[in-house]
């Protein structure tokens, strides 16, 4: 045995195998603890979405049965928690992967047997039938047509969020570049005030903003039609104003990371200032532009308070958040399945956007480190 010869020389015996085993087990337990923590903290975030989704495809008009909901939770809850013991039991990465697949398969089969037969799409009828309220209450003569088509609200939301995104990205990119590259009087004051503006609670401005938009509508002639009270343009500008300070600050940081020499090189290579900006500098800050664009879009998509205050006068101007509010206001208690269904439609675009653009958002929080 090697230990004898080592001991014979009079040196301490080092058991490399023991040390390696100890490091392995320590790593395993750290991962197990980490999984436990992540599962526990994610439950309060995931459960409401799960409920909303399950209710939207299972609840019936007038019904208060919750058995589908509980069945779904009873299957998915343990399934999610089971990830944790799996992590502790399986040491080998491949075996762990296989165990997880088995777990997912079991959960899916259980869902198919116990939950699937009770699912239906009836709650989503608002998507093709805008007279759902009249139908619920029974036709009493002529149609009230209380709601605009949900697709109008959906399109309005897209328009609002898209316009906010476009304006914020354009303005913040140009402003960030200027602040990063040019020295001008009051530059540092400007930067500091950007941060103060970001910290300022915009809600406190809601009455002045209302008055400004009202004045624009009253005295702004053609402008009143575009950015006055009750126009999507007006809300877009208000949200942009609130979003811009932070976005400019972020973009400034990204531009700071682009060396001046690259730009000078481009100029010497024969590019004009604009060509150097577009072809050489902008590609370096692409990640930042994506990130602030996504945040701006989501901000516009989820906006409620300002649209409630400034936009709800015309049904044709409703956005998704207003639509959801009025649906909930009208038929909650009678058909909460439909409220959940509207919620699902409202959540999906933002969710998809997050899923597909995570990469950029993570890079932004790292402060524009490029790979």
């Amino acid at each position: 045995m090697a230990a004898d010869s080592v001991a014979a020389v009079g040196q301490p015996v080092i058991e490399w195998d023991t040390l390696a085993a100890r490091a392995r087990s320590r790593r395993r337990w750290t991962m197990t603890a980490l999984y436990a923590f992540l599962i526990v903290v994610s439950v309060p975030i995931l459960i409401p979405y799960l409920w909303m989704f399950t209710i939207s495809i299972s609840a019936t008009t007038g019904g208060t049965d919750t058995f589908v909901l509980w069945r779904a939770v009873a299957i998915l809850g343990p399934a999610v928690f089971a990830f944790w013991p799996l992590q502790a039991i399986f040491e080998d990465g491949k075996a762990l992967q296989r165990a997880r697949l088995v777990l997912v398969a079991v959960a899916l089969i259980a869902l198919a047997i116990f939950v699937a037969p009770h699912l239906h799409e009836h709650n989503f009828r608002f998507m093709w039938n805008r007279n759902f309220v009249d139908e619920l209450r029974g036709y009493g003569g002529e149609l009230i047509q209380q709601f605009p088509s949900v697709w109008v609200a959906f399109a309005n939301s897209l328009l609002l969020a898209g316009a906010v995104m476009l304006i914020v990205v354009t303005v913040a990119t140009l402003a960030g570049y200027y602040i990063s590259r040019f020295a001008f009087a009051g530059r540092s004051t400007f930067l500091r005030s950007l941060l103060v503006l970001h910290a300022f609670p915009a809600m406190t401005l809601i009455i002045p903003i209302f008055l400004i938009l009202f004045a624009v509508s009253e005295y702004g002639w053609i402008l009143g039609e575009i950015i006055g009270l009750g126009t999507i343009g007006g809300v877009v500008l208000v949200i942009c104003t609130i979003e811009l300070p932070f976005a400019i600050f972020i973009m400034k940081g990204f531009f700071d990371a682009v060396p001046w020499e690259i730009e000078m090189s481009a100029l010497a290579d024969g590019a004009s200032r604009r060509q150097a900006f577009v072809r050489v500098v902008l590609p370096q800050v692409k990640v930042g532009m994506f990130a602030i664009g996504i945040f701006a879009f989501i901000r516009g998509w989820e906006e409620y308070v300002f649209v409630r205050t400034l936009l709800q006068f015309e049904k044709s101007n409703w956005v998704m958040s207003l639509y959801l509010f009025w649906v909930a206001d009208d038929i909650m208690g009678v058909d909460y399945g439909m409220v959940a269904a509207v919620g699902v439609l409202y959540v999906v675009p933002g969710l998809l956007l997050y899923v597909f653009t995570q990469k950029f958002l993570v890079q932004m929080t790292l402060g524009g480190i490029k790979g």
Binding site: E261, A268, D269, R279
Partner: protein, 355 residues
């Protein structure tokens, strides 16, 4: 290829003067090095020639034409920065192609030129890589290819070698020099490394605080530095500079009197290169303080009545020991005497050790 002239050029940002009243002519195909410590305005000159900065006063001429107002993109100047400034989102090929995009060159002709330029600096097989996948030396070559591909009339190199390791620096030094000679392109090399300047340049422009101290061949600057600054800046190990006083035909350095040949009065500084001092019987007595074997030579620091003197002796082995009593001497023709106040060389003054 261009003849470049700077006439009374001044560049200032408000109160800060980067370059002051600078006049310099660079001939066709010449390799001139602008040498000076950081902050002396040498990079500013480069950026003015490239058209990034506009001079506050004075004129820049390319081949006799004033180009002050000509935009950077129209000057046809190639530039290589210390950081190489490669475009990280482009492949090597796209990087070298970039300057060609702004020229009226047919696509196949342009890509031929790109490959030629890449082969010239031996990065022909790296064309599809990204700059981040290249070593420092390769990035440097790519930057050089990008600067050369459009056949510029002037090549500007801003500290091109200082990010490379010592061996690579030596290789690139000779490569750039031979490339420059082959292409015959007017080149300005900005550096703070005197070795880079003396080994590569036909002429050196030594600068201090925005002004030219001396212009000349590397040998001029080494053997006849026209100011105390140039004397101290050029040469490794540095020159011995001994502050003293000239009184009645004597140069008093510390407590020691040297004979003054020529007319000098007041505070002066005597400069002697370490390799111009030798150990000799009957010279100025002193003792060895320190020995530094440097390879081919050995540097001794000798403490003597003149002060602490550096003496460079051929031979890799230090055969004198610390504490050993020695005597040093020098030839009066090897001494440089400067006016301490104006820092200017007193051309006809020499110092002689008493015999």
């Amino acid at each position: 290829m261009a003849r470049v002239e700077l006439n009374n050029v001044r560049k200032a940002w408000g109160e800060t003067v980067a370059v002051d009243d600078l006049t310099l002519t660079i001939e066709h195909g010449e390799l001139v090095s602008i040498l000076g410590p950081s902050g002396c305005g040498k990079s500013t000159i480069l950026l003015m020639l490239a058209g990034i900065y506009a001079p506050t006063e004075g004129e820049l001429r390319f081949d006799g034409q004033v180009v002050n107002e000509v935009e950077a993109k129209d000057r046809n100047v190639g530039i290589v920065f210390q950081s190489y400034a490669l475009y990280p989102h482009m492949s090597v090929r796209q990087n070298i192609m970039f300057p060609m995009r702004f020229k009226q060159v047919p696509a196949n002709e342009a890509s031929r030129l790109v490959e030629e330029a890449a082969d010239l600096v031996r990065v022909g097989d790296l064309l599809e890589r990204r700059p981040s996948q290249l070593s420092g030396g390769q990035q440097q070559r790519v930057a050089l290819a990008r600067a050369l591909v459009k056949e510029p009339q002037l090549l500007l190199l801003d500290e091109p070698l200082s990010n490379l390791d010592a061996t690579l620096r030596m290789t690139m030094r000779s490569e750039i020099k031979s490339l420059q000679a082959k292409l015959g392109i007017t080149t300005i090399l900005v550096t703070h490394d005197q070795l880079e300047a003396t080994t590569m340049a036909d002429r050196i422009v030594c600068m201090k605080a925005g002004r030219i101290e001396q212009v000349g061949t590397p040998d001029d600057l080494y053997s006849r530095p026209s100011s105390l600054f140039v004397a101290g800046f050029i040469g490794a190990p540095p020159i011995n500079l001994l502050p003293g006083k000239a009184v009645d035909g004597k140069l008093n350095v510390n407590d020691f009197s040297l004979t003054c040949e020529g007319a000098a009065a007041g505070d002066v500084t005597v400069g002697i290169r370490p390799e111009r001092i030798s150990f000799a019987e009957g010279g100025i007595p002193g003792t060895i303080d320190q020995t530094e074997p440097m390879g081919r030579e050995t540097l001794y620091v000798v403490s003597c009545p003149l002060g602490s003197i550096r003496v460079l002796e051929a031979g890799s082995k230090a055969h004198r020991r610390i504490g050993e009593a020695v005597a040093i001497s020098f030839d009066p023709s090897d001494t440089l005497v400067y006016d301490s106040r104006t820092e200017a060389l007193l051309g006809d003054v020499r110092a002689r050790a008493p015999s």
